[in-house]
Amino acid sequence: MVRYILERLVYMLITLLLIATLTFFLMKLLPGTPLSAADKLSEEQQAIVLEKYGLNDPLPVQYFNYITGLFQGDLGLSFQFDNREVTTILLERMGPSMTLGAQSLILGTIIGVLLGLLAAIYHNGVVDYGSTFIAVIGKSIPSFVFAGILQFYLGVRWGLFPVALWEGWEYTILPTLALAIFPIAIAARYMRTEMLEVLGSDFITTARAKGVNKFGVVFKHGLRNALIPIITIMGPLAVSLMTGTLVIENIFSVPGIGEQFVKSINTNDYPIIMGTTLFFSFLFILIILIIDLLYGLIDPRIRLTEGD
């Protein structure tokens, strides 16, 4: 087990280094420097600015500095915000993004699991079709379209929740709902299939034959076994939420990482783009690793290494 984790960590490191290298050189290919008003500055001033960002050094030196900086948690200085470190900016903005991500993932999974469960219990009934319908809609319609609908009806038309900004818990409701639709759909579909399979297995028949009531069969015997595979979809779901937050944070003006990323793309703030890219990749790889480990831990039928 320990060996497996170490192996995975090494792979993770290689991938991250590769991404860092790739982003670094890609960014160097792009036009633009932090000197947005270059013509107003004298040559001397330009040299000072370039020096500050370390852009005067030859490329290999810059690359070396960047990579060593990474290991110390230093992602460089932002071009856009004077003298601010990318790491600080990201840490500051992590709160709202994490709140939204966690809330929508938890809410989405719980509702999705319940929907899927009901669909399996009332298989081929009205509830089943309703749940399938919700799943198809939620999987197909992009979160930003949902965000528009929610924002217009719940925010503007009926005034139930704040339309945008980030000034308290009630401000998280609409973006969370918009993001939660996709997890709901995926979890519901998955749960339905798993639950149907579990309910059809022999130990359920045994439990029934022993006289366990329907409630007990579904919750005690069925749900426990059907829930395990749900963990596998949490990884891809969390990753898809990362994509979702980029748009949703912009629509609802949430001061999170995604909003900053989009702003930086539009202002050519390369250090922030690179930093966020790395951060996203790190998160992505970490989530997948955690899910893999968790899966092996929870389900005794799956062991990562033989003889463990």
Binding site: L16, V136, S140, F152, V247
Partner: protein
């Protein structure tokens, strides 16, 4: 009735005929015909197919159905809602309405009127509540921009912020979105099938190296790759397609590899090889037909995700440059005036949703149809 013991004479041996033994109970069906029959029985999938066909036809011919063009701007007729003759009961009557509250009816009336630049002639005022019940007075103003601006031909989807016809723009946008998605899906398919096929068929060291490459590539979130690629390439249809393809082929390669690995160790392949079939023949006659179903299903799922990613890119400011419009850029524009003119967002969002639902439902149906376990 008494029980009778049947006498032996009652039993007559059945004469077995040679032909009967060889008779097949049901007509022989090829895998494809069988799958298609199952697909046709799937109501959801058929509904999806119909939706897609309608959207595709409209994307092809919609822009020519009225006299407006996609780029013809006229600020005087900006942000007009949709109007279709005969569909007024659906809300497509081309009017804007605004409900205002105020201390008195007069105050509410004037603030409602102010919303339509005090154009009293073409604004109808309905008093919903005169405030006599103790609450605020509520007044609804209904404005008819078609009459006010003297427009005689209808905008079926209304106009956007620059007075361009949304109908034409939406269908041209659909065309571009579909084009990008189909192109990306096709390239994904070719690369993925080739990569996965080669990796699995040759196996050994080739497979090992090719899989290591894939492993590292999957570690990179596709969001990041797509954004970086778009930043480097100049925005345009081709660069968006390339950005989508760069990560898009990986799932296909994995699926094809898995399937080919499974198939190539099976007896029928061994039998064919023993009978002297060449690699070429094994691939063409045994592997490809058996992987085909999976390839089709996966491609069907790639298309909606490509449509989504393209719209997503437009949304974060990396979409098509301005004169061109895809559904994504149209939706992005719609958000800018969502509060007052929600209909600008509504039409492209509707078409995008129909497309996504259509592809997803059809792909689900195909998956069920190709699954031999679902066979009755």
């Amino acid at each position: 009735m008494e029980n009778q013991t049947p006498s032996k004479d009652l039993f007559v041996p059945v004469e077995r005929e040679r032909e009967e033994q060889h008779e097949i109970g049901r007509p022989s069906l090829s895998f494809w015909r069988d799958s298609m029959i199952r697909l046709r029985k799937n109501k959801g999938a058929m509904a999806g197919l119909v939706m897609l066909i309608i959207v595709a036809i409209m994307a092809l011919f919609g822009p020519y159905m009225n006299e407006y063009t996609a780029n013809e701007q006229d600020l005087s007729r900006a942000k007009i809602p949709a109007k279709v003759d005969g569909l007024g009961w659906l809300g497509l009557d081309g009017t804007l309405s605004q409900i205002e509250e105020g201390d008195t009816v007069e105050a509410a009336r004037s603030s409602a009127l102010a919303r339509f630049s005090n154009d009293e002639e073409f604004t109808e005022i309905n008093v919903l509540s005169d405030g006599s019940d103790g609450g605020e007075a509520r007044v609804e103003a209904v404005h008819d921009p078609y009459a006010a601006k003297d427009i005689d031909s209808n905008f079926w989807f209304g106009t956007d912020g620059l007075g361009r016809d949304q109908w034409t723009r939406v269908w041209e946008g659909t065309r571009i979105s579909l084009y990008i998605a189909l192109l990306a899906a096709a390239i994904d398919m070719v690369i993925g099938v080739a990569y996965g096929g080669i990796s699995a068929y040759y196996g050994g060291r080739v497979d090992n190296y090719m899989q290591r490459i894939i492993e590292i590539l999957t570690g990179i979130p596709n969001l990041v790759v797509v954004v970086l690629m778009i930043l480097i390439l100049d925005p345009g249809i081709m660069s968006i397609t390339i950005a989508l393809v760069i990560t898009g082929w990986i799932p296909m390669a994995r699926i094809v590899r898995g399937q080919v690995l499974k198939l190539k160790s099976q007896e029928f392949v061994l039998a064919s090889q023993t009978l002297g079939s060449s690699d070429n023949r094994v691939i063409r006659k045994h592997l490809v037909p058996n992987v085909m179903g999976l390839i089709i299903i996966n491609t069907m799922f790639t298309i909606p995700s490509a449509i989504f990613f393209e719209a997503f890119l437009s949304f974060i400011g990396l979409g098509l440059p301005t004169p061109q419009a895809s559904l994504g850029t149209l939706i992005d524009e719609g958000f800018k005036s969502l509060q007052i003119y929600p209909f600008i967002l509504f039409w492209p969002a509707l078409v995008l949703s129909i497309l996504m639902i259509g592809f997803n439902v059809l792909a689900d149906g195909l998956r069920d149809a190709f699954d031999p376990k679902m066979r009755e």
